[in-house]
Symmetry: C2
Subunit: 230 residues, 2 copies
């Protein structure tokens, strides 16, 4: 493969790029043309050196003494993250959360249109939510092929999550966002990200209890979470 060797960017930096992108998009809307690493650092709640290092993984796109150009950096981050195109999403599990996500415009607006939602419950199959009709999980393979799905979102019960994952992988999906509170077993060629709301609350619980036990001296808990790392 005579392909230009791709820069290896640390995972921790990759997880911050979407946050920067978010902020830069807001700056663009308010017609800000330029920003310095200090400014972005303040807005993102991180260290300025970290911002510069993170951005330097993209290439040397700043100007010393001046800063970075908002629109150009937006372009570069999007390019790096693979956001120059859309990625189609299928939701597996048409419960409360699954339906809420299917309706959620934050997905579409960020370039991740939800092109299908499926379930294994005959009572749910055929129902319509926003503009989608709930399909049969058994048809996943066809849906993935016909709708050119790239990413699977699992919002089933924890009992059904592993078989949902198996079905997605069988259908050729290699990126999964899992909301079910179970650790999925998947080949290492598949990327899985796990969002567990219970886990988030339990982590908060730890720091909250800590504050109570130590008499609210506080200041020991991290400002930002692991989701969208600080």
């Amino acid at each position: 493969m005579t392909q230009l060797q791709r820069r290896k960017i640390p995972d921790a930096a990759i997880a911050r790029l979407p946050i920067y992108l978010q902020i830069l998009n807001n700056l663009a809307v308010t017609n800000v043309l330029r920003f310095s690493s200090d400014e972005l650092a303040a807005l993102a709640g991180v260290n300025a050196a970290k911002v510069r290092k993170d951005l330097s993984y993209l290439g040397s796109y700043g100007t010393r003494g001046v800063g970075y150009e908002v629109t150009y950096l937006i372009y570069q981050i999007k390019r790096e993250l693979g956001l120059m195109r859309e990625w189609n999403v299928v939701v597996v599990g048409a419960g409360n959360l699954g339906c809420a996500l299917a309706k959620f415009d934050g997905f579409l607006s960020r370039g991740f249109p939800v092109v299908g939602i499926v379930d294994n419950d005959p009572k749910k199959i055929g129902r319509t939510t926003s503009s989608l009709t709930v399909g049969d999980v058994a048809d996943l393979k066809n849906i993935v092929r016909d709708e050119k799905v790239n990413i699977g979102v699992i919002t089933t019960s924890s009992a059904a999550a592993q078989s949902a994952a198996d079905a997605l992988i069988e259908a050729g999906i290699t990126s999964i966002l899992n909301f079910a509170p179970v650790v999925l077993s998947t080949p290492s060629s598949v990327s899985v990200r796990h969002v567990d709301l219970g886990v988030e609350l339990q982590i908060l619980s730890y720091y909250e209890q800590m504050r109570i036990e130590t008499g609210i001296k506080s200041d020991s808990s991290p400002e930002l979470s692991k989701v969208g790392v600080q």
Copy 2:
């Protein structure tokens, strides 16, 4: 403060304890009495030494040559995470996601009852979702006091998120779970965890693009996300 100095547990370990707890609860249901660090490591998808080190932060509760007792470890993890009690949750923002979360039984079942949901939109105030009536965000202070709320969950639009956070903090809340795609500005005495679904998808997008560009040689993306860290 003549309090027993609390063991300082690394943040990364704290974020894994809820995952272990999850798995142990499942083991308990299937009447498994004991487990070894190897077994738990396999189930959690992590290294066995990491499991042992994480559990050792709780104290020396294993037996060499034997392993750990399921129920005893569940007890110890819950104690450490502050899960011997319930923590009351209020949801700010009664949109799709907020209502889905208010209904979500995963919160209650893990000891985080949702005791209130509020919004600032007069059209939404007064509506009933599951067993809750949407209150006015202006009453947040009273709700927090009367319902003994410990944790605030923000599911507003990104435009409204900062003022929602300010209102929560003003009402005395020190733990916030934020779903809005903005970085909140908060005093360091407040713990904030940020779950941004768009960010999760964008991270997946990066690794997906990487696989495509490098010709699906794969194996370079992390197995588990930062939310509920590996």
